[in-house]
Amino acid sequence: MDLFLHQVLAGLATGGIYACMALAIVMIYQAIDSLNFAQGEMAMFSTFIAWQFMQWGMPYWVAFFATIAVSFAAGVAIERVVFKPLRHASLLSHIVVFIALFAIINSVAGFIWDFTIKSFPSPFGTQSLFGSGLISMHDTGMIVVTLILLVLLFAFFRYTRIGLAMRATAENPESARLVGIRVGWMVALGWGMAAAIGAVAGMLIAPVVFLEPNMMLSILLYGFAAAVVGGLNSPLGAVIGGFSVGVIENLAGTFIPYVGRELKLTIALTLIVAVLTLKPSGLFGKVVVSRV
């Protein structure tokens, strides 16, 4: 029973990270109807920036928030420079550019910081919470930070005018234009927020997986699984999907021989294909995937 509870809690902790990645994916999906295959690399790069800040002597939390700000600006810049000109381009162009971003970011990170793994500090420490052995301080911290982030986002979308405008843009861009919303900037804002959320995910998971240019690829895959499970156009679904996928991953890893431990990515693959084909709207989204 203790093992079970322990795994559920650990699953919730990584699930929070998946939830963040899924949320970032959903934000961009709602803005441009495409899946950002470079989301993980963007998060990885942000994490390196945080690491660099700390190398330069910044305290953890200063570096944390500075990184969020830089990532936000970079996300906006990527949209303005690279994606805005492609607004009416084909899906192929979008995919090509996502792949290009993936390759560029991954390689520039390796170029600047090389490909060896680095340790990344946890602000919460690694000892177990209240010495219970049930959950570590860092895992607790991950859950708490994710929840704070989610509450802030919820409040932003629910209670601010810009949040309302962004929701309107996601729902119906044409009508959003008719009421005078600068849709292009809402899209850019979506990119900025996605980049910032990804940065949080990267910084929180880095103490667990270590910092290196390929650290986010499998986490991105889980983020995709979470987004698909929750429904690609439902932010709430993305969050619930993230936590569920995290728990599923951990329980499978503990209780299913071989498969759970060694084939974690295959589990994500199976989830993605199964949900997309059987219930394309996910658990909470509306139907968008057109089927042949």
Binding site: A165, A176, R177, L178, V179
Partner: protein, 238 residues
Amino acid sequence: MTGPLLTVRGLNAFYGETQVLHGLDFEVAAGGITALLGANGAGKTSTLRALSGMIRATGEIVFNGLSIGGRATEEVARLGIAHVPEGRGTFSRMTVDENLQLGAMTRGDRAGIAADMERLYGFFPKLDQRRRQQAGTLSGGEQQMLAIARALMLRPRLMLLDEPSFGLAPMIVAEVFDILRKLNASDGMSMLLVEQNATAALDFADQAYLIETGNLVMGGTAADIGRDENVRRAYLGY
């Protein structure tokens, strides 16, 4: 009456390569109500869409002394042109309240916005009872009212109305036109109205134009147009 608020000269519009409007010339007077009449597919909706920058168009569009041809839709809206589109365009997953808030997105005066919302809820009591209801769950007629109310939240100088009577019961149509006429008189708000219901439109408007397959074939005061033999036979049915 003063000079025109909106002057359109040689307006062409396109869907891809297909041209659907061919050199339209027309005006909306400041404080005036102009009606566009025409059969299905004549190009009425396209005209409004061209004005709002929603489709590719060439020609001269002057609003309030400003050339607005080629501007993005949101910029046109920000100049004070509110467009009630064909098919309503409400945000169906948002509440009635949020839809009205969105209508005022270009404004910064919180107090004014709140006051306007109450005023519009006064005009449309049906909406007042459903403030927290999702717009998508409103009846068709209620959604039409919401679309009009949302456009009014912009405090527009010019309203582009694409078949505002669509889906409304005759009683309500009269009511909606009444409200619009009141706003026209009190706020000096000008309107460009597209209507299937030519009788109501001619009754409501002071100027009218007739479009056939993307060409203007007739224009004049609503009264003159209403008296025209051909118009009566083709559009008024008597």
